[in-house]
């Protein structure tokens, strides 16, 4: 059989992924995450009297802590499988990728295992996050004069 024909045969037996449904769930869960984040910011600034910048940092740390804790307790991966990008795109996804890699490689030692592999998934995000921040910062400097 021609390889192109075979590709066609494979396509006819490919199940439909529920893209619409997945996007909807991700949209709702992502929205809820935003609400939770905002509630945390309000909580920290109202009850602890922090400035809104400090309260945002506290909010991020709280979400990272919870995502890491729930990953370690073993049920966060099930939530992520359900909510998909609703939990992967927010900071929770970043924390989840680091904690899961750290758990996976801890048996191979603190340096050769955990240390060397913890950024296996998150490393890409950091690298290209920094690179794109630099590029966009540069564009902003040129267009808006650094304002």
């Amino acid at each position: 059989m021609e390889k192109k024909l075979y590709d066609k045969l494979v396509m006819t037996h490919k199940p439909k992924e529920h893209r619409g449904q997945n996007a909807f769930i991700a949209f709702v869960v992502g929205g809820i995450m935003g609400v939770i984040g905002q509630l945390l910011v309000e909580f920290y600034s109202y009850y602890l009297g922090l400035s809104s910048i400090d309260a945002s940092i506290f909010m991020i740390v709280t979400l990272i802590f919870l995502a890491s804790l729930f990953t370690a307790l073993g049920f966060f991966d099930k939530w992520v499988k359900f909510a998909k990008c609703g939990l992967i795109i927010p900071i929770t996804g970043f924390a989840h990728s680091m904690t899961s890699a750290a758990i996976e490689y801890k048996k191979e030692g603190l340096v050769t295992g955990l240390g060397a592999n913890m950024f296996k998934l998150a490393g890409t995000v950091i690298l290209y996050g920094v690179v794109s921040a630099y590029i966009f910062g540069f564009i902003r400097l040129i267009i808006m004069g650094g304002a």
Binding site: V10, T12, H13, F76, K107, L121
Partner: protein, 331 residues
């Protein structure tokens, strides 16, 4: 290349499984199961070694033999450098051949053992395979606790160890013929749709087996592929029909689909995979049916995706291979 055998008998088989397999439809048929993924060891890699050792101990106990009675130990698995097999071989303490054909490893082992036995150079051979879901996930995909969404074509590496003791002495089931497969490349590179990668290899080997031995599908009660999964199975049926004009639909099933309850165990998605997947189904259920004469002759075609994560990232295709053995009930 196909062979016919006169002196190759299956004396005993053993199966040890993890928790997911034990929730499947074959649960009652396995010899031993563990309720967690670590099997009382401290890492998943050690757990895989333990499960293979367990299966060897069990098959020896069933056959009432000692390790010293074994002339040759043949084993393979998915762990890097087939580690589970090597560590088990150390415990067996007999001449060892480590083999690898990914998920087609089990039939490769059975073919090598059969050829040794047929020439009567050895008397007792054990063929073992194992795989462990978390070891494979870590090695080939993402950390196990990372909840990356997968498409419904993805398969689930089975956790278990399985051993088969082959001899020259007559028993209820024998290996009657075999076919060594050829690697194929149909330019597939989706690591989450292994069924599509492996279906042409299975078709190629089935066709070769039938034409080499001048047989038809009617000579078999059942054609069994290793781990094509729900969608790979459909592809194979279509492929056999259009490419070779052979209709296998009525007599065909896939071990990956049989190992789990696909309705209730949603986490397995398109079905089971891994070298032990087909071994668990054949050893727990098919051998028993052959011994009872419920089945007369079964063509067992284990399928392997020769998948290397590094080369896939370098845009190379995923090759695949299938080896077949024909199991027959003895009069």
């Amino acid at each position: 290349m196909s062979f016919k055998y006169k002196n190759v008998y299956i004396k005993d088989v053993s199966t040890v499984v993890g928790p997911y397999e034990n929730e499947g439809p074959l649960a009652k048929r396995f010899d031993r199961h563990y309720d967690d993924m670590y099997f009382e060891t401290d890492s998943v890699e050690s757990a895989e070694i333990k499960i293979m050792e367990d299966s060897v101990d069990l098959v020896l106990k069933k056959a009432n033999l000692e390790k010293s009675d074994i002339d040759l130990f043949i084993a393979g698995d998915l762990q890097n450098q087939i580690a589970a097999s090597s560590y088990t071989a150390l415990k067996v303490g007999q001449p060892f051949l480590g083999i690898y054909s990914a998920c087609a490893t089990n039939t490769e082992g059975l073919i090598i053992a059969s050829n040794f036995l047929e020439s009567k150079t050895v008397d007792n051979v054990i063929v073992s395979v194992s795989s462990h879901n978390m070891v494979s996930e870590k090695q080939f995909r993402n950390p196990t606790e990372y909840g990356s969404p997968k498409p419904s074509t993805a398969t689930f590496t089975a956790t278990g160890g399985a051993s088969c003791l082959l001899t020259n002495n007559k028993s209820k089931v024998r290996i009657e013929s075999s076919t060594i497969g050829i690697p194929v490349d149909y330019e597939q590179n989706d690591a989450l749709h292994m069924g599509a990668c492996m279906a042409p290899a299975a078709a190629n080997t089935i066709n070769k087996h039938l034409s080499d031995l001048d047989r038809t599908i009617a000579d078999y009660d059942l054609i069994l592929t290793g781990d094509l999964g729900v969608y790979g199975k459909e592809i194979l049926i279509d492929f056999m029909k259009t490419e070779y004009g052979i209709d296998i639909k009525e007599k065909y099933n896939d071990c990956g689909v049989m190992l789990y309850d696909l309705e209730h165990q949603k986490e397995v998605q398109a079905g089971g995979s891994g070298p032990v997947c087909s071994a668990l189904v054949v050893y727990s259920d098919i051998i028993r049916k052959l011994a009872n004469k419920e089945l007369k002759r079964v063509l067992y075609v284990a399928t392997g995706a020769l998948f290397n994560p590094t080369l896939v990232f370098q845009k190379k295709n995923i090759l695949s291979i299938a080896h077949a053995v024909s199991l027959e009930s003895v009069e």
